[in-house]
């Protein structure tokens, strides 16, 4: 398992993407947060989230990674591994 190592700016940027896409201005990310905890996080919005993270961070997730994300902690680790 790769360690979470998003810096505070990156974490803020990621939080902001979720806040805008789900229109939840007060959403706080914690590692155990999953799709079913967030209203509107369905299969379409999952892909939409990935697309927007890819655009904003200029990274690319593989098909397996998109399908295999379990929770926000997992997403953060994956993203961190691609940025570093």
């Amino acid at each position: 398992m790769i360690e979470n190592k998003l810096d505070p700016d990156q974490l803020d940027k990621l939080s902001n993407i979720l806040r805008v896409l789900f229109n939840l201005p007060d959403l706080e990310l914690n590692d155990n947060l999953t799709a079913k905890d967030v209203p509107g996080w369905d299969s379409f919005n999952h892909v939409n989230l990935i697309i927007n993270i890819e655009e904003e961070f200029n990274v690319r997730f593989s098909n397996d990674e998109v399908g295999g994300m379990q929770n926000v902690g997992n997403l953060k680790s994956l993203l961190a591994s691609k940025i570093s």
């Binding site: 229109n23 379409f44 892909v47 939409n48 697309i51 655009e55 904003e56 998109v66």
Partner: protein
Amino acid sequence: MLNKFLSELFTGEFNNALSILDNIKLESPIPSEVLTMLRLAIFKPGQNFLYYQKIFNTWKKWGQPALKPSPTNLKVLFLSDFTADHFSPMIQLFCAAQGVKAEVHLPGFDSIEQTILDPSSSMYKHKPNIIIVLFSEYWLQKYIGNSSLVKQADLEEAQNALSTLISSMRSNSSADILIGNLPGRTFASPSGIVSMNKMMGWNLAINRFNLWLENIAGDRLYIIDIAEAIFSAGGRKSMGNLNFFRARLAFEISGILSVAREFASAVCHLSGKTHRALVTDFDNTIWGGEVAELGSFGVECSHESPEALGFLMSQEYMKNLRPLGVLLAGVSRNDPKIKKIFTENKELALDLDDFASLQLGWLPKSDYISQISNDLGFGSDFMVYMDDSLFEIAQILSVHPYMDAILAGPDSQSTITRLASYRFFNSISISSEDLKRGSRALKLKEQRNFKTSFSKIEDFLEAIQIRLSFVKFNSENSKRLVQLFQKTNQFNLTTRRHREEDLKNLEDNGAEIYSVSYEDTFGSQGIISAFVLIPEADTLLIESWLMSCRVLNRTVEQAVFSFILKKANGKQIMGEYIPTEKNGLIKSLYETLGFNRPVMTLEQNSNEEQWVYSDANLKKSPPKHYVSISEL
């Protein structure tokens, strides 16, 4: 706040501009500068989806207010053979910026045929005003196959299938139908445009399909140039080359946004909510340098240098808007004498005749915009302002909050790029009236000059020999009549937004619908007025009456009324006035014409006024006019 927002929007960070907007505390009523900021943020092209979603959220937070006066409400149905969830909020948002409140329904992915062919399907129950049909290449592939060479017969089968769908939509709905043409394939086809023995490469098949589509347009069917929208978005890289596999998206985000903007712009065009004039500053906007300092030949606008060429091409771009019916106006802080540059410097693309209104002087620029609005006969909400100074843009927007604006510069190439990419002036069809608007504005200008030589208005009106022709609603005038019903706000007594179907229904039920064309010694103004008369047992009801404001103060309304009076043939005439935000101009029209308020009124809506021109009035002489009338 507006100043800071504009500088972030045009010269700083888009995200900072959005944060300024998002941090404004909610208040009621919504401040007009918030509406201006929302609109300008929406119009800014080329941003990531996340930003537009952020604007959408802010707009929603304010209760999705109308961003232009007198918005048009429309139900839009969006049919596609791929996942199109992004389109609904984006089309709503882009339409809102142009004054159209669109309610967008998506019946579900890959359901085009089922939905269209079933007359009892929910799409028809929604009674949409506009149906958008957007196919991907995979829809075409169902008919023509995936082989690199396509059979002519298979292409014809796809065309027949689409013809059947169009017929079904026409017979089950009165909506306008927008169909997108096809961009190239996501993955380049090796067969290109080869052609042999009734077989052709995929690219050629798409070209032929698109050409066929353009030829079947008409009768409520409009073809939208999605191929161009995708080209603008970066071409093949904006096609679904990654996310088609993940979620059946036919386009990547940049493509989705460009296509959504194109459809929204078409929807707004159909509702008459398009920009009708470009108002431009001069120095460092349409040429480099200051003409007062450098003289007519010292400014930069020619083939001589990269910077000068950019100015020349910007001028050519502006000039080319004119044939589409877009008017040009100039505003400059300069001595009026500098206008000689347009006659002296032959290298400029624009000349004096290109400007329907020219305002040179030292007053605040917002005053000149009001003058231009008078000259052109429509409000600043239909205009776009371009200047290289953020100060001037902010000053104008603070007085004209519904005007749209773009910044010119810092170099001339940025100006033409911005002018083209904002898609402010996007035609999907052109009526003959649009074509005439430009020459009409110039005639008006001559007329204003002419008018000053008469001391009495009566003498002037007599001298210009106004002639009105009354023609019943028919296939030739229907397009312009429907356009007038959609667009006219000020001289519109009941503001009933009749569409073609409504007019047909009214006529089938006995109504008499007339168009009125205007002509005088300066030339024709085309159809300038329309009215609907409903004959009842002992009354003639004026159900609708509207007129273009550009013919006001010429006794045209008195002449139209004298025609209606003749049609009443002794019956009493009933008129209605339904006040709106915009039609205060004609509040006293019926009174001026000699109507009275009835003693007993049946008014259901307290605002609505009924007026009667009865026997007692008939003895009075009808209002005087200086117009000759004929019915064709």
